[in-house]
């Protein structure tokens, strides 16, 4: 019989620890517990380094851009200004795209949307470290991977609108893009499943003697899922060419990263128990992201195995169009985030190095807004969720299997089509 018996020992009673964020709505944002090392202060080991030799890096933050907008320290590289401007453009376009799609959702043009506002540097800069043929296994917050490679916005919007031009035929929830061509694996609505799949893909690349690498993506909250652990175990054992990205944007819907275990260790430190080298990196610093991503991709490409990277960033917007963050965190928290805004920081750097100006920024913004608007207009021609042309009904029976089996043909008939 399950039964609660009073203990016979006269000891102090135990109690349950339930972690709580420093502040809740109504209080002033407080990030005083977030230790931010100086930009440039963290060493850059050689890519052949052993996991054990860089445990300290998991408890720090690799940063390149300082408050003055300068690129400093061992992770700073000489980068072509054109490359940086392309990065700025990619991030701004991502933000503008998000804004437009959020609006489209409010206008009833689609059912749902998820923005990555505040986190643009992570995906946009990471993508620059990959080559054609490499494969990302993204979550729903890595639209930047597509936009950074100039994947057509119209194609993305068609998916969001589930219209007749949607390559996914209206089957998927908005933002759950797929593009083999763009090295962008099909997004699953089920968290974390892609993490171990990325490891499998990378194992396959190694089995075939290929040179392509995989990048796995996961959020801080989702690291609690089983497939996160499976991925680290398999990556530890087989040393496949994979980059294990954790985007720590501090929140998982309404729960802070404390509820995923962030109170007692960093997410980068998770790698230590598996003997996987790991880095913790300023995710709002385009240059730091680019440098760390290149380091990890090089390790993978040189058959040195997996690298885990925690990108420290902040989810500036709502979790999705279904949620209102002011219910669980102060409205001003986003503005108080100590690592700042990735677009502002890269812009400041470009200005500091004399390659940019407030005017050019305004001009670029206008250009991008036009581009996004034009794309939206074009996509809307193909229909939106409740208006205009749609994917045909009969397609719902297609592609469940390669060839339609009899029972599905019968059901299609039953439907009367």
């Amino acid at each position: 019989m399950n039964e609660i018996k009073a203990s016979e020992r006269a000891a102090t009673p135990l109690s349950l620890h339930v972690p709580e964020p420093a502040v809740r709505p109504g209080s002033k944002p407080d990030f005083s517990q977030v230790a931010i090392p100086r930009a440039g202060s963290v060493r850059r080991p050689d890519v052949t380094v052993g996991a054990h030799e860089i445990h300290d890096l998991a408890w720090s933050i690799v940063r390149v851009l300082n408050r003055q907008g300068e690129a400093v320290g061992p992770w700073a590289e000489a980068l072509d200004p054109a490359f940086l401007k392309a990065g700025l453009r990619a991030m701004m376009k991502t933000r503008a795209y998000d804004a437009r799609m959020m609006m489209a959702q409010r206008q009833g043009k689609t059912s749902f949307y998820m923005q990555c506002t505040g986190e643009e540097a992570v995906a946009c800069a990471f993508e620059t470290a990959l080559e054609k043929g490499d494969m990302n296994f993204p979550t729903y917050r890595q639209q930047g991977l597509l936009i950074a490679q100039d994947w057509p916005l119209v194609d993305m919007m068609n998916q969001v609108f589930s219209n007749e031009a949607d390559r996914l035929k209206g089957r998927q929830l908005p933002v759950m893009y797929t593009s083999r061509e763009a090295g962008f694996f099909s997004i699953s609505g089920n968290l974390a499943t892609q993490y171990i799949q990325a490891v499998g893909w990378a194992m396959a690349s190694a089995i075939r003697g290929d040179t392509r690498v995989a990048a796995a993506w996961i959020g801080d909250g989702s690291t609690a899922e089983s497939d996160f652990h499976a991925a680290l175990v398999f990556a530890s054992v087989y040393r496949p060419p994979v980059i294990l990205n954790i985007v720590n944007n501090q929140w998982a819907i309404s729960t802070s990263q404390l509820i995923a275990g962030g109170e007692n260790a960093t997410f980068a430190a998770r790698a230590h128990g598996y003997g996987i080298p790991s880095l913790r990196v300023d995710g709002n610093d385009y240059l730091a992201v680019h440098a760390a991503a290149k380091w990890a991709v090089e390790r993978a490409r040189r058959n040195l195995g997996a690298t885990l990277i925690e990108w420290v960033t902040y989810r500036a917007g709502a979790h999705s169009t279904s949620d209102d963050p002011s219910k669980y965190r102060p409205r001003e928290e986003s503005a108080a985030w100590p690592l700042g805004d990735p677009i502002e920081r890269l812009k400041a750097h470009l200005i500091t190095i004399g390659e940019w100006s407030a005017e050019r920024q305004t001009q670029l913004q206008a250009e991008i807004d036009d581009e996004v608007l034009a794309a939206a207009r074009e996509a809307e021609q193909h229909g939106t969720l409740h208006n205009g042309p749609k994917p045909s009904t009969s397609t719902i029976f297609e592609g469940v299997y390669k060839d339609m089996p009899r029972h599905l043909r019968e059901q299609r008939q039953e439907m009367g089509i």
């Binding site: 019989m1 399950n2 039964e3 609660i4 109690s15 349950l16 339930v18 709580e20 809740r24 059912s111 749902f112 589930s162 949607d166 035929k169 209206g170 089957r171 998927q172 929830l173 908005p174 759950m176 699953s188 609505g189 089920n190 968290l191 974390a192 909250g221 989702s222 609690a224 899922e225 089983s226 497939d227 998982a252 819907i253 309404s254 729960t255 509820i259 995923a260 275990g261 279904s322 949620d323 219910k327 669980y328 969720l385 749609k390 994917p391 009904t393 397609t395 719902i396 029976f397 469940v400 029972h407 599905l408 059901q411 439907m415």
Partner: protein
Amino acid sequence: MPQMTMIEAIRDALDVMMTRDDRVVVFGEDVGYFGGVFRCTEGLQRRHGKSRCFDTPISETGIIGVAVGMGAYGLRPVAEIQFADYMYPGYDQIVSEAARLRYRSAGDFYAPIVVRMPTGGGIFGGQTHSQSPEALFTHVAGLKTVIPSNPHDAKGLLIAAIEDDDPVIFLEPKRLYNGPFNGHPDQPVVPWSRHPLSETPDGHYTIPLGTAAIRREGAAVTVLAYGTMVHVAEAAVEEAGVDAEIIDLRTLVPLDTDAIERSVSKTGRCVILHEATRTSGFGAELSAQVQERCFHHLEAPIQRITGWDTPYPHAQEWDYFPGPARVVRALAAVMED
């Protein structure tokens, strides 16, 4: 009697039980401070404290696993899985552990847990916010599976589930949370307050697990349904103008076979509805049982109206959802035979 939405009724059931029995604890993803993505646990942490109602890490196996451990200790955990579509990572703990603990330990331990999960489609949730996995539970010996179709039942069944000493899977049709839904997405939204079964007694009451409810008496054909499909059945029967008897099963395991047998023996015809994919859906079990129990009364083949054997598509939601039009056709067909 107070009128409640489904959400309010569920929340009230939890509140009543947390107040009555300090062994009841409630947890899940976003369940604590925020009160759940569907707000079913709103206010419970404030009222009952952080160790009785709390947020969990995003690990469904962890959520069910700790529930089993807590249950074995002597608590009565009520765990929420944010969407039924996300229960799979916790399925091992449900099937291999919660369901079999009493049996394998010959009663030394058991798992008096409730696992709540929103189920079904109709909210444009796409393939991972729309599934109806009830058959994956009904196949597992040791589990009970409950699906209410209205606030009154939701509260009474949930209290019964919490008081039950066996593990109960409590499926909440999310399309019904805020109002009844008859399968006509084009018609104006109806609030629960216009539905008689929103009348929900105050305080503690139970609806015994394993008892079906007859929603409409009739002599011509029996319609077996549960959850959202009960409302679709009502609309379709109205539209078809058939004298159907509509049975709301409420509990799938244990099943009220008496009610089913009585009705089909009388009507001689049977239509079975569910939203889940057809092959190996719970409708198959119902069909098999009706056939076994009422063979000599049957005057026409039993019809199953179900979701198609495809993932739940996003844009074509209403082509997938087994709405009144399909049910009307099935009623006509079964009456013709």
